[in-house]
Structures are given as C-alpha cells and as structure tokens.
C-alpha cells in the first residue's frame, strides 16, 4: 500500500459523504502526513487511538562498534522515533483467520 492507495480509499469515503474530488482527498492526506512530521519534528508525540503512538526519544552519545570490522566508533546523541502499536492493532493482526 502506498500513499496513492491511501488517497484512493479516502476519496471513496469522502465521496460517500459529499461532493469531494480526488484532489480534496490528496490535499487532506498530504496535510495529515505533513502535520505529523512537523509535530514529531518538534519532539511532540502523537497518539492515534486504535492505531498506536509515535514517540520521539532522546538518545545520548554512546560508544558503538562497526559490526563488520569490530572497530569502536562514537555514536552521536540523536533523537529517534519509535512506534508503539495499540492493543487494537496488535489484536487485529492476530485474530483468527486474519
């Protein structure tokens, strides 16, 4: 599934409730992902009930190793994003006949 497939699905849902165009669907879908990127970029977490939480975590500088050569390298401090799926999503993936 790509963004184009998501837009198509959103368009079908919008068309069922009013006179919306594919362009409307595309605009809203783009805004959703852009707004989520802006929010996470500011370090704020996002909670989508029924789907999951996106959380920005601050990692400290640490010593790591190049797994190929075994050389020690310094890994700089950075922010990482983790996705924690909701119980609803986890159940959806594991129900009988899924």
């Amino acid at each position: 599934m790509t963004k184009a497939d998501i837009i198509e699905f959103v368009y079908e849902k919008l068309r069922a409730v009013g006179s919306y165009s594919k362009r409307d669907a595309a605009e809203i879908v783009e805004s959703v992902f852009e707004t989520m990127k802006d929010t996470l970029g500011e370090g704020e977490k996002i909670k989508i009930s029924g789907f999951g939480n996106f959380v920005v975590r601050q990692k400290k500088e640490r010593v790591g190793r190049n797994p190929q050569t075994g050389d020690q390298i310094m890994i700089s401090a950075r922010r990482v994003l983790t996705f924690k799926p909701s119980q609803v999503l986890k159940n959806a993936l594991n129900e009988e006949g899924a």
Binding site: M1, K13, V17, I28, T35, K45, L93
Partner: protein, 92 residues
C-alpha cells in the same frame, strides 16, 4: 497530539470542513490497519514504512513471579522512519 487534535489542526486551515477532515483521517488509519491485517506493507514516502513481522513462539518468564510462560507465535507491526522525517528529528 491526539487524533482529534490532528483533525483540528488541519481543519483550522479552512481548506476543508472539519467533518471531511475527520472522515479522511479516520479513513487513513482504517486503511492502514486493514493493509497490515492482510500482512501488506505500507510505504509513505518521507514519513516511513510499516511492515508486519512474524515472531515464533518462545518460552518466556513472568518477570514478577519468575514462572515460565509460553508465548504463542504472533504478528507485530513494525515502523521504520523515512528519510525526510528522520532528518527533521535531528537537524534542529
């Protein structure tokens, strides 16, 4: 930010009625849950990819009591952050 705050934020721009934004946002996550349920991978360029990982059964322990528990095989969603978003997390 919650889902309803996300809807508000986009509706505030005045390009589309809140009702339409709400329908669209719900449709986006419904579509994604459905794709993952079918084991399908989701690619949103710049944001990230979601994949479904299959985990085998294993014997674990209840960390409180130390009792052995059998964890059945399961499927779990996995998110890998996209390039654009990863850049925004760290260029600040």
């Amino acid at each position: 930010m919650t889902k309803s705050q996300l809807i508000d934020r986009i509706a505030e721009r005045g390009r589309h009625p809140r009702k339409a934004v709400e329908t669209a946002v719900n449709a986006i996550f419904d579509a994604m849950v459905d794709a993952l349920r079918q084991g399908e991978r989701i690619e949103v360029r710049g944001f990230g990819n979601f994949t479904v990982r299959q985990y085998r059964a294993y014997t674990g322990r209840n960390p409180k009591t130390g009792h052995r528990v059998t964890v059945p095989p399961k499927r779990m969603p996995f998110f890998k952050v996209g390039k654009d978003l990863r850049g925004r997390l760290n260029d600040a």
